[in-house]
Symmetry: C2
Subunit: 337 residues, 2 copies
Amino acid sequence: MNHIPPRLVGLDWGTTSCRAYLLGDGGAVLDRRLDGRGVLPLSRSSENRSAAFEEELAELCGDWLRAAPGIPLLACGMVGSNQGWAEAAYRHLPVDLTERPESLTEVPTALGRLFIIPGLFKDGRDDSPTDHPDVIRGEETQLLGALPGDSEAASPPAVVVLPGTHTKWLRLEGTLVSDFVTTMTGELFGLVMQHSIIARLAEEPPSPDLVAFDRGLDTVFAADCGAAPAAPADVATSLFSARTLVMAGELDPAAVKDYVSGLMIGAEVERFARCWLGEEGRTGRPVTICANAQLGSRYARALGRAGVASELAPDDAVVAGLWRTAVALGLIDKEAS
Amino acid sequence: MNHIPPRLVGLDWGTTSCRAYLLGDGGAVLDRRLDGRGVLPLSRSSENRSAAFEEELAELCGDWLRAAPGIPLLACGMVGSNQGWAEAAYRHLPVDLTERPESLTEVPTALGRLFIIPGLFKDGRDDSPTDHPDVIRGEETQLLGALPGDSEAASPPAVVVLPGTHTKWLRLEGTLVSDFVTTMTGELFGLVMQHSIIARLAEEPPSPDLVAFDRGLDTVFAADCGAAPAAPADVATSLFSARTLVMAGELDPAAVKDYVSGLMIGAEVERFARCWLGEEGRTGRPVTICANAQLGSRYARALGRAGVASELAPDDAVVAGLWRTAVALGLIDKEAS
């Protein structure tokens, strides 16, 4: 173990994986374990779901917990869903991420006290067929970690996008989340590249092909619906070009995956920039992108095409977010925070 | 067998199934066999693909062919693709469907001479990132069958939509196809309802739920991107509402499938009406829908929302199309046509 005293075990416990972080004073990462199993495999594998989660926790970081008895555990993500370990209530918008929630889900375990961070809920409007309810679990913590440390004083980003299986676009006023929208681009991309007719003709690229990605963006951003008859550039339609361009010898099978990535990320970003950001996107603060460098740079390229400036948040935002939440919850002694 | 002399065996041989029709004078259907295997199972099942197709043909309608030696066989669909029995060349737009193609693929079989109808190819434009090549195989025959019989004299429909796994939108001048666009709404709908997070919460409806379908249309057609910030109504985004509305108790799990159908067909039709039909859609002739009554009525409802009138083509258009093509090809004696 480390000679710096551990203060918190932070858990980013999502649908497919669990990542554990041992944190010391100021949120310094003392150790990490990234290969824990997520909610989906755990809830499938066992009759006694609670026992399955506890065993996984013990296996992943039991040694940390035995070496530092009484250390608090704080988790975010789908572990708090109705498919998870224990259901954590949602907080309804608007929500200040640095404010202590009214209720906090605590799970007593043999290894210590585990707290689960609540997700966020946006209420729909009954009188509107387009304002649907929306939910977040886990990204609220990543988001908090991506905001500047002195966010109460400084001007934090006004719009943050967290690309992933279910990408989240959020609007903030300081640390207050005022609006967000989920889009399933990432999941649809996975389905298309695994199961569709496009998957059958695509070959795995030797390395990411940004030229093919940009060609996908071209298709989306050059489309001009105003000049009818124009070929529609929505995903369902432009996707078929991945097949016909290969048939016509105009697209390499190894370029299909990145071309489709460009089509789909392009369609999402074009639509969000036009409908959801509007004028604000071109004149406001840069959009903060919270993703790994590879995926983040794709969103940055697409936003650039839409005339929207962007910046990439630091890596491991979720770790900073777990620490800041623990401090806000009073789980950390003042002098260690 | 029938006492009316058979003149043609027509085969609608697609990706997943093969339907065979025994036709007499004037294209009258004397018998039909609808349960043949399609190109995908046949090309997977055998080392000797050609033998697999011939065996399937013999099993499906060998008795017809032995009873009427020398009768011609005419096939349309993916049987003419590079995954099919023999590759039939494409005809490049513009194409008059009643004109004899320059080349015709003939497959000699032990049971008779089989001809395969060529598909249609739309060339892309190298200088345009949005004008992609596009292809049709099989729908060209269905389309010909859907046009009025005296189409050279009368005014045929100017726009035809053939909904399916890969929906085709076509523009015609008489029997001349001048443009078409493929969109993969049907395939994406299948992927979403089989493999996505939405599939996990949906329950099979006891019967088609058009109220839920219309609710999906509402989401699409009420969206007003002009009034930013508006929640985008593209498929990837609106799809997530199928999950959150169920979570919020505002959508029955048994209504999810038809709600998603409304979202996806609505998004396709809204986009085609706006970008591809333009003003013509609201002022021109009704759009002809070539589909079974169930799917056809969904497209009609969505087109109605977009202010576009429509009419449903008669059932079994592909049979009429096979007959008319056989006549155009000279496979049928003049007096029998």
